[in-house]
């Protein structure tokens, strides 16, 4: 069931992993974006709100990797996955 908010805005549920969780100050964040926004738009939004988030993370929408041009939908769960180097 999709909840289209007023003024054509959508809300996505962003989940942070690993180092992003610490930099974002939490595991989840609800982000409101104009309808039709892409993954790239979400990245730009977060860059502005959370400048301390390291770039270069991968984005998964639902259970699948999503490229920059992927269009987000209201209610999407979006996982931000940073590269991790430890071994």
């Amino acid at each position: 069931m999709s909840r289209i908010a007023a003024r054509g805005m959508i809300t996505v549920d962003v989940r942070f992993f690993a180092v992003l969780r610490e930099r974002a100050g939490g595991e989840r964040r609800r982000v409101e974006l104009p309808g039709g926004s892409t993954v790239a738009a979400l990245r730009a939004h977060l860059r502005e709100r959370l400048p301390e988030l390291p770039e270069g993370y991968a984005v998964a929408v639902g259970r699948a990797y999503a490229a920059s041009e992927h269009v987000l939908e209201d209610g999407d769960e979006v996982a931000l996955i940073p590269p991790v180097s430890g071994g």
Partner: protein
């Protein structure tokens, strides 16, 4: 004519009237399968090609013995024999295993058969699978947190040739998670303790060691000829290097990486699957994603991720199950949650895409922004350890602030050079205690946290503030080698 039973695997039972076992009378395995397909015609196309050969993904066992070639006069049967039909892959495309081609020449001693008996009992492994394991050659990059459990389990499982690449010596801080090494091996090369441990665990296998750092100049030579690579490296340059070299050489590699309580694993470099760069085309800016040494890691975590890597390696060698290709597995120990994300091969990938732009290895230190002269904290004024030592000896007026945690101070500190402990988290509230007229030097373990502290103080209007470059580790290296480090 012998009276034998044929076991039909679950996926094929619907073509065999739903039955898991059928009795037939036959003199040879070929004849027994012929009888079976006479009874259940629908099975024929699933087992045989049009030329009447066994399909590649169908394995037939007589007891523990793998029967590949039905043609050579047939294999004789006795009353009560059990023939098992085992599909290679449940729900996935079969994966070619180079070890399979060599496994025909493999033999086992009675001791080995006992050692591996719990494998031989499993239809999906059996004699044929164990022979594949023995014929397999697996290279582990890194004998650390991930490499330890992976190497231990692969050695125990009977992977015949295990290679290890590492050039570090064992440090006491490794022992909280790196199970290949022990307290007695502190200070000695990791490969020495690794070899000793693996050979003690399984003297039947061949352990080969490469005491070197994997770099562009040696990677193709070191990696060439292995069936499979397990990446347990601890830095981005090596990870991109392993990826690119494996793609160029056509070697699949099992990826694993850990951070504090979270881990990632996948299988990259299969022909139809993605590579690491399809997921992360570019490395993160240097310094923003810390290593285990800088961020810490839960000691048990690599036990989970490294064993996932070992399982994927074993599955790939056996040609069984659904490989972790095209899927990134994410593990969160605090939430005790496994989650997976589908990752497709990127047609625009610079390395494995349709029109690769990268066709030879590059300088991965430069690619990851860590090349000579590059500094993560270039924006921060800094001084070296030797210079600080000169200031200290010369009676220079300065204030040295150690921003580490109290437990770190107890391991080693620069009290002799006038250091005062103010953990980074307490710095904002203690700013009033600092002398705005004095020259301030901020110090931590490696220079990263203290660089953050310098930025904080400069934002607060402090002008004469320096970072001790390389932290107390640089002091131990350049000024006082007797100082314990961690």
């Amino acid at each position: 004519m012998a009276r034998v039973s044929i076991r039909v695997p679950t996926p094929l039972r619907s073509f065999a009237g739903g039955r898991s076992e059928t009795e037939v009378r036959a003199a040879t395995v070929a004849e027994a399968l012929e009888r079976l397909t006479e009874q259940h015609g629908a099975l024929r196309d699933h087992l045989f090609t049009e030329e009447g050969e066994l399909r590649r993904f169908v394995n037939v066992y007589l007891g523990d013995r793998s029967i590949r070639n039905l043609g050579e006069g047939g294999v004789g049967l006795s009353d009560g024999d059990e023939i098992r039909i085992v599909p290679s892959i449940a729900g996935g495309a079969p994966v070619a295993s180079p070890a399979a081609e060599r496994s025909g020449a493999v033999d086992f001693s009675p001791d080995e058969l006992r050692r591996y008996s719990r494998h031989l009992m499993i239809p999906e492994v059996g004699y044929g699978g164990q022979a594949r394991l023995k014929a397999a050659r697996v290279l582990l990059v890194g004998a650390g947190g991930l490499g330890s459990p992976a190497a231990l389990y692969l050695a125990a499982a009977g992977v015949g040739t295990l290679g290890l690449v590492d050039r570090d010596v064992v440090d006491i801080t490794n022992l909280q998670r790196q199970l290949l090494h022990d307290t007695d091996s502190v200070g000695a090369p990791k490969l020495d303790s690794a070899r000793r441990r693996l050979e003690a665990l399984n003297p039947e296998i061949d352990v080969r060691t490469f005491e070197t750092r994997l770099i562009s100049d040696n990677a193709l030579e070191v990696l060439d000829g292995w069936d499979l690579v397990v990446d347990g490296s601890d830095n981005f340059p090596t990870r991109y290097l392993v990826n690119d070299a494996c793609v160029f050489l056509g070697i699949p590699f099992v990826y694993g990486a850990i951070y504090r309580f979270e881990g990632q694993a996948s299988l990259f470099g299969l022909e139809d699957g993605p590579c690491y760069r399809c997921l992360f085309p570019e490395p993160p800016p240097p310094g923003l994603v810390p290593s285990c040494a800088d961020a810490g890691v839960l000691g048990v975590l690599p036990g989970i991720i490294g064993t996932v890597q070992a399982i994927e390696a074993v599955k790939l060698i056996l040609g069984r199950g659904r490989p972790l290709s095209g899927r990134l597995l994410l593990f969160d120990a605090l939430g005790m949650e496994f989650r997976e994300v589908e990752v497709e091969k990127d047609p625009d990938c610079p390395v494995c895409g349709e029109h690769p732009t990268l066709t030879e290895l590059i300088d991965y230190e430069v690619f990851c922004g860590l090349g000579a002269g590059a500094s993560v904290d270039a924006d921060v004024p800094s001084i070296g350890a030797e210079q600080l030592a000169r200031w200290s000896r010369g009676g220079e007026r300065y204030q040295l602030i150690d921003v580490r945690e109290p437990y770190e101070w107890r391991i080693c500190n620069l009290e002799s050079a006038g250091a005062r402990l103010i953990p980074l988290g307490e710095l904002p509230e203690k700013i009033g205690e600092l002398d705005r007229e004095a020259t301030l030097v901020l110090q931590c373990r490696s220079g990263s946290r203290s660089a953050d502290a310098v930025r904080l103080l400069r934002r607060e209007g402090f002008e004469d503030v320096f970072n001790l470059e390389g932290g107390i580790l640089a002091w131990a290296r350049d000024v006082d080698p007797s100082m314990p480090t961690y």
